[in-house]
Symmetry: C2
Subunit: 199 residues, 2 copies
């Protein structure tokens, strides 16, 4: 048998397996809950990637940022200019910059209140809760409150939660969990954070 024929047969078999797998799947009839966690780069940026996918299909998107409050990031600049995304930055900057636990807790809880409205209101296909896992790690929010908020979301609404150290109870509830594992990072090699790449 020629290489070409062998390749064709192999690909046919792969295609058949893939089609069978797809045929077994079903539409869940509700928005999914996705978690991007781990120490590697890509948790928030892949949320922005899903945002533009959703926008490409004409879906409605909201973002609540829990941590990067004061930073003017590339993503914020882009979405401010492009429009189409409801954007709330209710964090107060990185927590080591505020140094005021009470203020951080109040800010995180206000942000989460807003997030609950967006998730339950039925107006959005996708709500991104950016860096919410950090607010959970510092115990500015309780896992129970976040779970309750997710469960009370509109059927239409998918949610992405980002940040390292996602709590186990949230991962159990989620439909998808990706751990971004840092294999190699320029910061470790002494390379400065880059505009466009890192923020």
């Amino acid at each position: 048998m020629s290489d070409t024929q062998e390749h064709k047969d192999k690909m046919k078999a792969v295609q058949a397996r893939q089609r069978a797998k797809v045929a077994e799947t079903r539409d869940p009839g509700r928005g999914l809950v996705l978690i991007h966690t781990g120490k590697g780069k890509g948790k928030s940026s892949s949320a922005w990637g899903v945002v533009i996918r959703a926008l490409g299909w004409g879906q409605k998107v909201a973002v609540v940022q829990f941590i990067k409050g004061k930073w003017k990031t590339g993503e914020r600049r882009f979405f401010e200019e492009h429009g189409g995304v409801t954007w709330h930055t209710m964090g107060e900057g990185f927590t080591w910059d505020t140094q005021d636990r009470d203020r951080d807790i109040a800010a995180a809880q206000a942000a989460f209140g807003k997030a609950c409205d967006l998730m339950a209101g039925g107006d959005y296909d996708l709500v991104v809760l950016d860096e919410i896992n950090i607010a959970l790690r510092y115990e500015y929010l309780s896992v129970e409150a976040v779970l309750d908020g997710l469960k009370a979301r509109s059927e239409r609404t998918g949610v992405i939660l980002t940040g390292r150290d996602a709590p186990e109870a949230l991962c159990d509830y989620a439909d998808l969990v990706t751990e971004m594992t840092e294999v190699k990072h320029p910061f470790q090699a002494g390379i400065k954070a880059q505009r466009g790449v890192d923020f």
Copy 2:
């Protein structure tokens, strides 16, 4: 010492460590090479996230897609409408759909030729080579050719390479490697790929 004071002191120490680390970093004076690999979701979507970051800072971006040729994805719809990204989809669809190895090789090599022009031309801050690792895995491209193309890139140009099974030699050369690890995926639970989330 009160909890509040303790928190403040702890955060001050974190802030000082963080500032010291940042102070030690330097600007590399060249575009970085980033690899998004692993089996988990988020490799391409985090590339799109970096694209919108770069666009937010007014940078110039090009994308070459090696695999998802015929699919009309949300990201393509979005960037076609939004403009500002040079977009080449030179793949012929998933490889198990074409079943013609010679055609696949020709398509991958044509796409890589285009990619080399974009990387070396000096007009772009960021070039995304989406799913190029799949073309490498099937040996449609050689690792050596891809390394040569990266080394010949303009100083200005950063490159993101996506797809599972990134070759070791590319990871050695890259500035950043993130492995997207699949902890839990809806497809495994029989949930159909979702518009906006998966494509």
